[in-house]
């Protein structure tokens, strides 16, 4: 049994924090609605911090082969593409065996520097899920350094003498090493208390119970809609797109549930097909996109990239449409953040050595 000091602290929340004479806030009651799994979310929060969207990019399904160019004739609409992905999402064998199932994601987000150019800060997150109780499950987060955001940014960085450390100016100033620092941070995790759907925690048992029929899945997800807010969209359809894409990309669900999730997306208004695109690792796939309004940060295009031939999710990208607030420095059309779904692997290796807070 794993022990999480923050769970323990959440349970010990004093009643005196609530104003006298009023019922306690449901939002505040420990366990009802709390921050998503802490350290892991902290890791995930880095993923899309620039977009202000916490994404524990994680998928235990999917193909490891780069997506082949979709067979002609290409489906024309977003709905058709998503349905093609749904149809094929049951065809690929899951990674089995080994001591650990390792699922990973690479993520990055664009930040401005005091040199006037922009860089993309990158990070690798991995979950090591133990197959047996003899091993512990881990999250491992490895900063991957940074790269100039565009060719023009690279030229500007070079004109500044190609500094090894750049000074990021927003949203908060900090120094960022261009080379990967070679450090890994990590922590033991309890997979039963790791995942979140929207901003509510969800157990593996609950994930396993998600319906595999599209309309039922849609209803089950919408039951968790409480008006959105915080880092979730408040518009119901935008919220459903966000949560459903999270089911596809971030959560360990069955292939049948994933197929149903593609159907749910296909039924949403405002989802458009972008055709064949490549993700930030150059993997080719089909993209669908929607527009999401983010509290205090303006409007972004959310792009889901997937392989319609295998149903494998590949990436999620946020691009500025009308950025505002602390992301106002982004230009329209510019990549704000991305998360790449990496193919899950079964391994007998030990998790890498990590800098850990507690063990």
């Amino acid at each position: 049994m794993s022990f999480d000091i923050l769970d323990n602290l959440a349970t010990a929340r004093p009643d005196r924090l609530d104003p006298p004479g009023r019922p306690p806030l449901i939002l505040d009651s420990a366990g009802t609605r709390r921050a998503r799994p802490r350290l892991f979310v902290a890791a995930g929060a880095l993923v899309t911090a620039a977009a202000g969207v916490v994404a524990v990019a994680l998928a235990v399904s999917g193909s490891s082969t780069p997506a082949p160019a979709p067979a002609a004739p290409e489906p024309a609409t977003a709905g058709q593409l998503l349905l093609a992905a749904a149809e094929h999402s049951e065809a690929v064998a899951p990674a089995t065996g080994g001591r650990y199932l390792v699922v990973g994601s690479e993520s990055g987000w664009t930040v401005p520097t005091d040199g006037g150019y922009q860089v993309v800060e990158k990070e690798l997150s991995q979950y090591w899920f133990a197959r047996s109780d003899a091993d512990k499950s881990w999250v491992v987060v490895e900063p991957l350094g940074a790269a100039p955001a565009s060719a023009a940014d690279r030229a500007a960085w070079a004109a500044h003498g190609s500094p090894a450390v750049v000074h990021v100016t927003a949203p908060k100033p900090f120094d960022l090493s261009v080379a990967a620092p070679g450090k890994r941070y990590g922590n033991v995790i309890d997979p039963q208390h790791l995942f979140a759907l929207g901003d509510l925690n969800v157990s593996q048992t609950e994930l396993d119970a998600l319906p595999t029929e599209p309309a039922a899945l849609r209803n089950a997800l919408l039951k968790r809609y409480r008006g959105g807010g915080s880092d979730m969209p408040t518009d119901r359809n935008e919220w459903l797109f966000s949560v459903t894409s999270s089911v596809l990309m971030d959560l360990p669900v069955s292939r049948a549930v994933r197929g149903a999730a593609y159907h749910v997306l296909a039924g949403l208004p405002g989802v458009r097909a972008l055709g064949t695109v490549t993700d930030q690792r150059g993997r080719s796939g089909q993209a669908v996109a929607t527009t999401e309004r983010q509290a205090g940060q303006g409007t972004f295009e959310v792009r889901l990239i997937f392989d319609p031939n295998t149903g494998a999710p590949l990436a999620r990208e946020y691009r500025a449409v009308a950025p505002a607030g602390r992301l106002a420095w982004l230009k329209a059309g510019q990549l704000s953040s991305y998360a790449l779904v990496l193919a899950p692997e079964a391994t007998d290796d030990n998790p890498p050595a990590v800098i850990t807070p507690s063990r």
Binding site: R16, A45, A49
Partner: protein, 169 residues
């Protein structure tokens, strides 16, 4: 466009309890009402910059400044020390399961620095996600992650000194 006063009232209704909870954790119950009042006064004056969609991190950042500007460090420490004694007293008096652990984790929390307590309780008690908590304390999410790691470690160490090992494992 909605009337400013209506929007402000809605924000107050939605979030004043959360601001109150944060204030209690920082300066104790006796001063919390003052902090809440000052925070929303500032929010009203700076209405134009109040984020409409998710104002809580912004409000807590304001409350944090109010706490620091309004009360000297020793005043805060005395007030919050009394508050934490009350928490521990309540936890000990509670007959529910897990009494020992609740009282112990609160006692361990009381041994930490003001900064560490804030980092831990923003997530554990105030329901903030790390990105939002980072906004409140004014650091990057990456920095928050590292600082939270360290605060956790110190809380675990403090707890380990208070309790026999077998209680937890």
């Amino acid at each position: 466009m909605a009337d400013a006063e209506q929007v402000f009232t809605a924000v107050y209704e939605a979030h004043h309890r959360q601001v109150y909870a944060y204030a209690v954790a920082r300066v104790g119950r006796d001063l919390a009402d003052e902090v809440v009042a000052d925070t929303f006064l500032v929010a009203w004056r700076r209405y134009a910059s109040l984020p409409r969609g998710a104002p809580l991190p912004w409000l807590l950042a304001v409350a944090r400044n109010v706490v620091r500007e309004r009360y000297r460090a020793e005043v805060r420490q005395q007030a919050v020390a009394a508050e934490m004694r009350a928490w521990i007293g309540d936890a000990v008096a509670d007959v529910a399961d897990g009494v020992t652990e609740r009282a112990a984790v609160l006692a361990a929390l009381a041994k930490l620095s003001e900064d560490d307590r804030e980092l831990l309780t923003l997530v554990a008690w105030h329901g903030l996600k790390p990105a939002a908590a980072a906004t409140v304390v004014g650091c990057s999410t990456a920095t928050y992650f590292v600082r939270l790691h360290r605060a956790r470690k110190r809380l675990e160490d403090a707890l380990a000194q208070l309790l026999p090992e077998e209680t937890f494992r």
